[in-house]
């Protein structure tokens, strides 16, 4: 009987969103109550912030096309780890020399987005992230063109 009632509520798909939101809320409240969580000092890919850099907070150090020392999980698997593949286009370089706030617009102009693919360590992540984005574009464009 109770199962039938639950099924009846769930059969309205608009209730699913509310149910999921409620579940998230409960879990996050539990998460806040369980604070503080321990923090491991031995982190992968540590980075330091240089607040005076014009690329802050995206400036992760290292000159372009050079290798910098980073902590990776399996250094033996990727000898090129830490190779900085980022660079700025001439326009971005000019902007970064003029203002201290380029970091806030780093992904909003050409040449800035390349900075995101920074160290040659977690390559597959970058590929999958871009794939998710393009799948979303594909769905949106299909629906937009059809209507």
């Amino acid at each position: 009987m109770i199962i039938r009632k639950i099924s009846h509520v769930l059969s309205n798909y608009e209730n699913i969103t509310r149910l999921f939101a409620g579940a998230c809320l409960l879990l996050f409240i539990a998460g806040i109550l369980l604070l503080p969580l321990p923090y491991s000092e031995k982190q992968l890919y540590p980075k330091t912030f240089d607040r005076n850099s014009s690329l802050d907070p995206y400036d992760r150090g290292g000159p372009p096309f050079e290798q910098v020392g980073i902590v990776s999980q399996y250094p033996e698997n990727s000898p090129t780890a830490g190779f900085v593949t980022s660079y700025l286009t001439p326009l971005s370089l000019f902007l970064s020399e003029q203002t201290l706030h380029l970091g806030t617009t780093i992904v909003a102009h050409p040449g800035g987005i390349i900075d995101e693919i920074l160290y040659n360590t977690r390559g597959l992540d970058t590929v999958v992230e871009a794939t998710i984005l393009f799948i979303a574009f594909a769905i949106a464009s299909y629906i937009y063109r059809r209507v």
Binding site: S7, G31, S78, I132
Partner: protein, 219 residues
């Protein structure tokens, strides 16, 4: 003890910091996803027919080739994402693949020209969108507490234990992306014609759910 859950890794593919490993458990899930993706690739979709009850009248639903082509593309993308989620040995990579499964599931049903189906797909899209928060938050807590994202390291027990809340977040995120227990809502979406493609929604969510069970038992 913990390393026996999925079996001992038979083969580890070294892929930078993101190891891909195959245990008997993940091989089974991977082959299932692979087989179904191949089926989607080669099969011809169903043609749905509505029959008026108590009479001889029936009508075939019109489905355009463009729609079918798009849905097949989404189903194959979903299969590839599921395969990736099955074999990856990295927590963050798993969450990314799971997010991709969620969005391709929406894509499979959103292409259907039916108001009812699209309403359901929209609500499902909202849940998949919201589910990325606990999903990636779970991965972030994993990284913060253990200082590692590699499942192999979790399996070895060389890193601190993972708190229950991180596991809960990961599971809730996967539930949201795959809508695993909410088949009542999925049934609405299954009114969409096109048999092999809609089944991909179910299969992928089932598989990522089976995989996350293994992952939360690791650390």
């Amino acid at each position: 003890m913990a390393d026996l859950i999925g079996g001992i890794p038979l083969f580890v593919l070294e892929f930078g910091d993101e190891l891909v490993y195959f245990t008997p458990y993940t091989i089974t899930l991977f082959l299932l996803a692979l087989t179904f993706t191949l089926l989607v690739l080669i099969s011809r979709p169903e043609r749905q027919i509505d029959i008026a009850f108590g009479g001889d009248a029936y009508r075939a639903k019109e489905i355009t080739v463009a729609e079918m082509r798009f849905r097949r593309f989404m189903a194959i993308a979903c299969g590839l994402a599921t395969m990736g989620a099955m074999v990856t040995g990295d927590i963050f990579n798993f969450t990314l693949f799971t997010a991709m499964v969620g969005i391709t599931n929406v894509g499979i049903v959103a292409a259907v020209k039916s108001r009812h189906v699209q309403d359901a797909a929209y609500q499902y899209g909202l849940v998949a969108l919201a589910a990325t928060v606990p999903l990636f938050a779970g991965a972030a807590v994993y990284a913060a507490v253990t200082g590692s994202l590699s499942m192999i390291e979790l399996m070895k027990g060389t890193v601190p234990a993972v708190p229950l809340i991180a596991k809960g977040m990961l599971v809730l995120g996967v539930i949201g992306e795959g809508m695993a227990p909410f088949y009542a809502a999925k049934a609405e979406m299954f009114r969409a014609p096109g048999a092999p493609y809609v089944i991909m929604c179910s299969l992928s969510s089932l598989l990522i759910f089976l995989r996350v069970v293994e992952i939360v038992m690791l650390g």
